[in-house]
Amino acid sequence: MKNLGEIKDLNQRLHFFSAINDSAKDAARFSVKDNICVKGFEARAGSKILSGYVPPFDATCVERMAKKGYNFIGKTVMDEFGFGSFGVNTDVQARNPFDEKRVAGGSSSGAAVATAVLKDHIAISESTGGSISNPASFCGVVGFTPTYGTVSRYGLIDYANSLDKIGLMARSSEEIRKAFDIIRGADRYDTTCTENGITDSKKKKLVVIDQLMHGIDDGILASFEALLAKLEGMGYKVERTSLDFIDKAIPAYYIISMAEASTNLAKYTGYKYGRQLDAFTKKYNEFFTEAREVFGMEAKRRIVLGTFVRSASVKERYYTKALKVRALLANKLSELMKDAFVISPTMPIMAPKIDEAAELPPLQAYAMDSLTIPPNLTGLPHVSFPYDYLKGMPVGAQLVTTHFNDYALLDFVGKWEKSFDYKFKYNL
């Protein structure tokens, strides 16, 4: 890359890359979130416990991009294993290019920053409960999370397998569409990935769910109303509706994601890959307990809670019930979206300052995902797109549609982009 030096300098300040591919070519660049494997590059997923893990294989999406001539330029930083909404739950914290004292969002923090500072670049990122929409919105880029099961997860270091979706960030819907067509489609290495035909069923109606509009920052609320007015001007019909049940989404999401995460994190025992201990004289229980000390606080919290909610005596009350909530909510939302998109702001707040975010109590931090969790929990495709700048910071809106109608989202953003000017501070 011609501007490799500049990128490295900026990375010193904004911390978006955890590794840079020095030999990458200039054109058609793509970056990869650090929880997705690129052969020969350390994959830490933001965790110290994976220090030194160099996967011997490429993730399917990485292999497919490379085959089509895209050039891998680096791994992007993230919250440890995706556990976070602000990119602060890790040792290297990305900074927002619009205001370096503020967070970039999370957990795909580095991916969003990279997209906001690099031109001609696609970020392969991943969302479990909002990890694409959230940072895309804070950093003013387009963040697309496809229907669960359309992009192979082979090579993704698991957070919660039934919720994890590999998706994309870019500076336009057009670039996303091109990359989406490359990485999607059945893969024998991921049983849950299917070859479903993606549709482009355009909707003229936009539904705003009342319950999602509670607790939203006043400034964001006002600008969102202005967005709706503009969209009405473009010919869309806006409708308000109530969906009580959507309040169950956050608890159901955290129960399922923590239950699965606690099983996924069990494999890190300190002797096969990643952080390795020499203390082979210890008994196994003491040995792996020592290895696991380096998990961050949020990872430890999710292991403990996740182990609890799936233990036999309470499983029915938590885990099994959460699965039922997920199925029911998917039905209710799909029903609601037969002839409409669901639209909302992406985040209820503006990007907070880094030190504020780091001190947020867990329950308040989890509440920040109230808008991104419903589609993520139910595997529905969604896209976050920038629509305004408040006090110099970008704000994003999130559009949701029915399963496999992914193209319709990109089509919508494409139309919106015609009357919207993206602003970027850097164009490296």
Binding site: I36, C37, A43, A45, L50, Y53, P55, P56, F57, A59, R153, Y154, G155, L156, I157, D158, A160, N161, S162, R188, Y189, D190, T191, T192, A259, E260, S262, T263, A266, K267, T269, Y271, K272, Y273, G274, F280, Y284, N285, F288, T307, R310, S311, A312, S313, K315, Y319
Partner: protein
């Protein structure tokens, strides 16, 4: 007394349950990949051949199978488990509610499930080695109802089960691994990880004796997990206390629910039932036949070929001889010759076997049954005292047989069968 079993057998697929690695590598840690090592980023992909084997076993054990089957994660920390969870089955296991038919009763099969084998742990004096070649090998776990009531039944059950598996293509040379549940009184004691049939029967014997002893002394039998020590021949209380509470089963989110399509399955063979049919009963003769065919498909082929056309005893004789000389691959035409030789009462020596194989004619004295009958009746008529003596002294029977066989150069066994028939019909001379 109630004994239940959980038997683990390796499914004879070429590749592992969730990856393409071979199941038959010798050099330690040579058949491994990111999937069976549980590397971050890897995902399981289901080996459909393993499902088919499992379905065949399920049908052979008369189990019911649902429309779909699914997997769960069983979480526990042990160095042989690369992911620290085992992918196994629970609610939607492959089969439910079947049975295995023994001579006198049926043993219920509660559940049949597919799961991955952990790696192999090799313990040395002051270090431990792990061979991941075994990690991910498909296993079938067969769980019985506590229907087994004695060690004899235990042995009979295990052998019948192994025989069924053998005829479905399983490698029964691989040691069988099992957990035993034994309750002499009320408390259920689990004896975990017993390897091999002999150890299984021994472990059961020792555990039964231990429980009976406690019971007779009116001491409490603790419901617990024990292990069998092959050296001391005793079961010992285990310290591990894992329970379903801690396993924290969740469904396996990396594998979708697998839809089972109706398919033609391998036809099961029940050696016990076949042996009973051939022998026409359940006595020593059945046992002899069963010993020959239980784990020997070629022997079964030979029996099926000759069945009804030659006397059973002749078939047994020839198969035993062929076993002795390792010659069961003999062609059917030659096999038939040998059966003729056997029926005529000529002992089959190695020389006779070679002659038949080379197509050299073997001199056999053909004696018809009618001739034998005539001679028997003749002797009885001439020596009318024989019948009276026979009532007091059964040895007279053998005297008559010997006499006739010698005179006609006939097979003594055939002569004795004819004689018995004649006496049963009430022949009085």
């Amino acid at each position: 007394m109630k004994i239940g079993l959980e038997v683990h057998v390796a499914i004879p697929t070429k590749s592992k349950l969730f990856c393409a690695c071979s199941t038959s590598a010798d050099e330690p840690n040579s058949s491994i990949c990111p999937i069976c090592m549980g590397f971050p980023g890897s995902k399981p992909m289901l080996n459909k051949a393993a499902i088919e084997y499992a379905l065949s076993v399920s049908a052979a054990l008369h189990c019911k199978t649902g429309k779909a089957t699914s997997f769960v994660r069983k979480v526990y920390f042990y160095p042989d488990l690369p992911k620290s969870y085992q992918i196994t089955q629970l609610q939607d296991a492959i089969g439910f509610g079947g049975y295995v038919e023994l001579e006198k009763k049926k043993i219920g099969i509660r559940r049949i499930q597919l799961e991955e084998d952990p790696a192999k742990i090799i313990r040395e004096d002051n270090y431990t080695l792990i061979d991941f070649n075994r990690s991910g090998v498909p296993l079938l776990e067969i769980v019985t109802e506590p229907d087994i009531a004695s060690q004899d039944e235990l042995r009979e059950f295990v052998n019948e089960l192994r025989s069924i598996l053998y005829y479905l293509g399983f490698d029964i040379e691989r040691e069988i691994k099992a957990d035993l549940n034994i309750s002499v009184a009320d408390a259920r004691v689990e004896v975990k990880n017993v390897n091999g049939i002999r150890n299984l029967v021994d472990a059961a014997q020792h555990e039964i004796r231990r429980q009976e002893d406690l019971h007779s002394k009116k001491q409490k039998i603790v419901a617990e997990t024990r292990s069998y020590n092959e050296k001391t021949l005793r079961t010992e209380s285990s310290r591990e206390k894992e329970s379903d509470e801690e396993y924290g089963f969740i469904y396996e989110p990396d594998l979708t629910v697998y839809q089972i399509k109706p398919k033609k399955l391998a036809k099961p063979i029940y050696a016990g039932i076949i042996a009973r049919e051939l022998a026409g009963g359940t006595g020593q003769l059945k046992k002899t036949v069963l010993d020959l065919i239980q784990f020997d498909s070629r022997a079964l082929e030979l029996f099926e070929h000759a069945r009804g056309k030659w006397p059973l005893q002749s078939i047994i004789n020839v198969v035993e001889v062929l076993n002795k000389y390792g010659a069961k691959d003999i062609g059917m035409a030659h096999f038939e010759k040998l059966l003729d030789v056997a029926r005529a009462g000529t002992p089959i020596s190695k020389q006779v076997l070679e002659q038949v194989k080379k197509g050299v004619k073997v001199e056999i004295s053909e004696v018809s049954s009618a001739e034998v009958d005539r001679e028997i009746k003749e002797i009885i008529r001439k020596n009318s005292h024989l019948l009276k003596e026979y009532e007091k002294n059964p040895k007279v029977f053998n005297f008559i047989v010997g006499d006739v066989a010698k005179k006609l150069k006939a097979n003594p066994k055939e002569v004795s069968e004819r004689l018995r028939g004649i006496l049963e019909k009430g022949f009085k001379g």
